[in-house]
Amino acid sequence: MTRINKPLDDDLLMRKLKNVLLKEDREQLMQLKEVLDDPNQLSEKVNPLIEQRLDFLKKNFPKEYRLVVNQIVEERLRGFQDEVLNIMYPVLGKMIRKYITHQFQLMKDRIDTTVRSTFSIEALKRKLKSVFLGVNESDLVMSQIDGPVIEEIYVIQRNSGLLLGSASLNNTIDQDVIAGMLTAIKSFVEDAFQRESEDLERIQYGSYKIFIQNYHSYYIAVVMSGSLSAKESDALSTRLSNFTDKELTQISNIDNEAIQHISSKLNEYFVQPQRNN
């Protein structure tokens, strides 16, 4: 009997001992469970810690995570460059348009102020011109400010697109390649519309206009910035015709000497006068 009851006694003793020893721990555990089970009590305990951490992040986020965020953004931008551009393009377009409109308004205001306050001979002449021509005086001032500038001028062999002469205000581009590409564009357009007697006469790219005057075996392309009125366009056409009559009709053989001669004359007639002004 003794041998059988001994383990039971041991168990009982062990349980009692546990109860005594763990009583305090169990009470604490129960308290913790109550806190965890009750959202209000839990919030009371945890919220200050979260707020503290959030405060820390607000103050230190750029410092702590700048490198990681930069890396992620850079990777995303690189990976989705086309998509980003597609999204940005209309936004940029609107911003640029808004900026240009604003600048135009500022310029117009300045011109109006100038027109109202000037009593110089130049202003009187402009006023008379405005009365006789029936053109708004502001428009006259604007046309003087935003007049056309010849940036590049080329004489190009009509079929081959080879350059026969050129002059440039800034010398920034490969003129042989431009001559070739212009001829390719002309050929493409003229071929596409299949009008044998008609030629491409204008190309516009942003604020640049390419004015083309066609002749039998060559054509002259004038790259211009600024605005070009119909009257200025006619005047340019006449200047080109005069140049052709005086300088190009006498050339029978196109060699290096002829090309140099044409280039020098283009510079003399069209580019140099602008530099002098």
């Binding site: 081959s160 390649v177 070739g180 003229e190």
Partner: protein
């Protein structure tokens, strides 16, 4: 310096633009971007003590040459006709194409070029050459650059001579 207009033509995807880029910029890209319209660029080639400026017109590929706008060929001094050694479709019409180009450019220099030689063996190249009724002037690889400068050097020499 003399300038000459040279047309790069042939079926699509034969490597005209790759030859053009390899010759002008010494670079090659595996990405295939079809040419729209024409791209013009130039390179100066030295022939003996003379220099010649080659104005290269890289034309969008067409299956047959009669589909290319004829105005592109006007005033050209030379034509580089390119086919792909690995694609028989690109040299199936070669005889008709060459005769058409000869009519367009009487007396002009025409170079027939088999490109992508890095993708085929010498035996396969010989077999392709023997199957054609027109002589192939040179075989090139725009990818490795093999024979590319030789092609334009030969062309420059012929144009000056």
């Amino acid at each position: 310096m003399t300038s000459k207009k040279v047309i790069l033509t042939g079926s699509f995807g034969v490597g005209k633009t790759s030859l053009f880029n390899q010759f002008i910029y010494a670079r090659f890209s595996d990405r295939y971007l079809t040419t729209i319209g024409v791209k013009v660029n130039k390179k100066v080639v030295k022939v003996g003590d003379r220099e010649i400026s080659l104005l290269l017109w890289d034309i969008a590929g067409e299956v047959t040459q009669d589909k290319v706008p004829t105005s592109y060929f006007l005033g050209a001094s030379g034509i580089v006709y390119v086919f792909d050694l690995t694609r028989p479709l690109t040299y199936k019409n070669i005889e008709t194409d060459i005769n058409y180009l000869k009519d367009l450019l009487p007396g002009g220099i025409i170079k027939i070029v088999g490109n992508k030689k890095d993708l085929v063996s010498e035996e396969q190249i010989e077999a392709v050459k023997n199957s054609l009724s027109v002589p192939v002037n040179i075989t090139t690889s725009a990818k490795t650059g093999e024979n590319v400068s030789d092609l334009f050097q030969e062309l420059g020499t012929d144009l000056i001579g």
